[in-house]
């Protein structure tokens, strides 16, 4: 750690991991509800478990991004953070808002929560991933603005590097596109149309910039490769992301009532979306192969390489699988989507956050890397989580193919629930793989407490 104020990243990382645990627990509950429908009913209905599972994911990733920015920006800008105090205040505000929201989801029926929180003044709730009550949404905007102010001021007073500029662009984009969560036209087509401006343009647009910047930062640190080389890669990757990802939004516009040309636009551009992810993989391996130093943090290197590979597989390959309109005609909203969602989120955004945490956390704790035994444990957790997500994805893909075949093809297509009964086996296997994932996560947390000989940070 080169600057004292980088320390504010630590609570963000800790909160991120804690919420990650919550996300996985609710995932397991929900996975079990797939096979035993009334499990925990009426205390935690399926729709609530799902909402908590996905919302916690998003919130902990945001905590991770913010922590990463607070760590990365002072070091890139070569100056102390504009206001560490502000960063800590927003941390507690964001954590409290997040916790209250989850309590709200669990304590009262969703409709009651909507009534209590003023949804009748400005209706924004009831839409997948954007279920947050109005006060939470406003809180997110305020926290985001304060956060952006803080890091933008830091960059303005310090050195401006490509990495911090790309990161800033990504984070500002994140805030701007979130504003569409307040826009909820009564026309369902328009509603969905702009809903994707938040959802798609986050994960297949501006978040990729954040991912690229975080990965580039860690790669510079652990490989010692020239900044110029890494920045050039970053620019090309970012350009490709934006070229393919923005119009690629069209792959969500196939069947929602938008003009037909979206079937072509969406298919063509999103078919190219794997390219930036593929470049990221090549980039990560290339940089590690050309490394100029042997960084003692082997675990961080593993996470960085893993991010490249898994993001390409999950977002790139599994996305391409069902992105062409003629294919999507059959696969839309099936378990194929769930398979893609799991591996893409894990491979891209979970892993890049864990890469950053793996690299920064030892430094925040005053050592250049964790002890070899702690790193071995962390690498075990890497493999357990990664392999189990691969299996979750494969099981869901199998379930999806079968589901589509039974429910949407053939002479006598089955009803939704009848088809679900036929694919139970895969849901059981998915749940089992989920427990292995939890085991990996437990090992991951354990690795933070594992003692052993460590080198002091330089």
């Amino acid at each position: 750690m080169q600057f004292k104020s980088q320390a504010v990243a630590k609570p963000y990382f800790i909160a991120a991991i804690a919420l990650f645990v919550g996300q996985i627990l609710f995932g397991l509950i929900m996975g079990f509800q797939y096979v035993v429908g009334d499990f925990l009913f009426p205390e935690i209905p399926f729709n609530v478990a799902r909402m908590v599972h996905t919302n916690l994911l998003i919130v902990w990733l945001l905590f991770g991004f913010m922590g990463a920015a607070y760590y990365l920006i002072p070091e890139e800008a070569e100056t102390e953070l504009f206001s560490p105090k502000l960063a800590l205040i927003t941390f507690w505000v964001f954590l409290a808002a997040g916790a209250l929201t989850v309590v709200g989801y669990l304590a009262v029926p969703y409709a009651t929560l909507a009534e209590m929180t003023g949804n009748n003044m400005l209706a924004t709730m009831g839409r997948e991933f954007l279920e947050q009550p109005l006060p939470t949404k406003i809180g997110i905007v305020i926290v985001a603005l304060v956060f952006l102010f803080n890091i933008s001021m830091t960059v303005l007073k310090g050195r401006k590097t490509s990495i911090s500029l790309v990161l800033l662009l990504g984070l500002w984009g994140l805030a701007v596109f979130f504003l569409f969560s307040f826009y909820n036209p009564s026309n369902l087509v328009l509603d969905k149309y702009f809903w994707w401006w938040t959802v798609h343009l986050w994960v297949e647009g501006v978040w990729e910039l954040i991912l690229g910047a975080m990965l580039a930062f860690v790669l510079i640190k652990i490989t010692g490769v020239d900044r110029e080389v890494i920045e050039k890669w970053l620019y090309v990757i970012i350009a490709m992301t934006l070229i393919t990802g923005i119009i690629g939004t069209g792959h969500h516009y196939f069947w929602i009532g938008t003009p037909e040309y979206w079937q072509w636009f969406g298919s063509v551009f999103s078919a190219l979306e794997p390219i930036p992810f593929f470049m990221m993989t090549v980039f990560a391996f290339n940089m590690v192969n050309r490394r100029r130093r042997e960084h003692p943090n082997k675990a961080a290197t593993l996470w960085a390489l893993g991010t490249g590979v898994m993001a390409f597989l999950g977002a790139g390959v599994w996305g391409f699988l069902h992105t062409l309109a003629p294919v999507n005609f059959y696969t839309h909203g099936s378990q194929i989507t769930a398979a893609h969602g799991h591996m893409a989120f894990y491979g891209a955004y979970v892993m890049v956050n864990l890469t950053m945490i793996s690299y920064a956390m030892p430094l925040l704790r005053g050592r250049s890397a964790n002890s070899p035994s702690a790193q071995v444990l962390e690498m075990w957790s890497f493999w357990l989580m990664t392999v189990s997500i691969v299996f979750i994805t494969l099981f869901l893909t199998a379930a999806g193919i079968l589901q589509i075949w039974l429910q949407r093809m053939g002479d006598n297509p089955m009803s939704f629930m009848a088809a679900q009964d036929q694919i139970m086996l895969f849901y059981w296997m998915r749940e089992a793989a989920g427990f292995v994932f939890l085991l990996g996560l437990v090992l991951y947390i354990w690795s933070f407490f594992k003692k052993g000989e460590v080198q002091a940070a330089a």
């Binding site: 090309v236 070229i243 003009p259 037909e260 040309y261 063509v268 551009f269 470049m279």
Partner: protein, 195 residues
């Protein structure tokens, strides 16, 4: 040395210009390539509609634009040749000429778009026009981007930022501009001419 006498030691292992632009060019060609294949695919399913709609395109302005872009590309070749001899101002003038022809291309294209739009044609008219408008507008935007890149290179050349030894930037801009030209050379016969 003139452009006619490129010697063996000029043949390099890496493509001219910055390597990054070649990743970019490759990606752009891929994007257009996918679109061209999609066009061929869609046409094969509806030859009659495509043939009928094609009748209404203005082949003459398309052909003129082809000549305009090829000439513009040639000017860029001269610009690169000039800077290789160390003539920075000559280089800048050739680039200015290339940009000028890019402007001519845009003007002709705008007249064409105006005709189509005032005839009530839109992306939703039929599959052919969807492709015609998407491909040409997409290409149109690339011409604009190319002109911006060339303008940046030209300004740097004017300020003496390039020399006979160090002129990667000029080659980078030229490479991109040739790609814009190449795309049109494929697009024009594919969409306007082939029945």
């Amino acid at each position: 040395m003139t452009i006619d006498t490129i010697t063996a030691d000029e043949i390099r292992a890496t493509p001219p210009g910055d390597l990054a632009i070649w990743f970019f060019i490759f990606a752009e060609l891929l994007a257009f390539g996918v679109f061209f294949v999609a066009y061929a695919f869609a046409r094969a399913h509806n030859v009659a509609l495509f043939d009928e709609s094609q009748q209404h395109l203005d082949i003459t302005s398309g052909a003129v634009n082809t000549l305009v872009l090829i000439t513009s590309s040639y000017f860029m070749v001269r610009a690169v040749a000039a800077i290789k001899l160390g003539f920075a101002r000559g280089c800048a003038r050739w680039i200015a000429a290339a940009i000028g022809l890019g402007g001519v291309f845009l003007a002709i294209k705008l007249v064409e778009f105006h005709d189509k739009f005032s005839a009530g044609i839109s992306l939703s008219t039929n599959t052919f026009y969807m492709f015609y408008l998407s491909l040409t507008i997409f290409h149109f935007m690339h011409v604009i981007l190319g002109m911006v890149i060339l303008a940046a290179v030209m300004l740097k050349a004017k300020r003496g930022g390039y020399s006979a030894q160090d002129h990667t930037g000029v080659e980078t801009g030229a490479s991109y501009w040739h790609m814009v030209d190449l795309l049109w050379i494929i697009l024009f016969p594919l969409v306007y001419v082939i029945h």
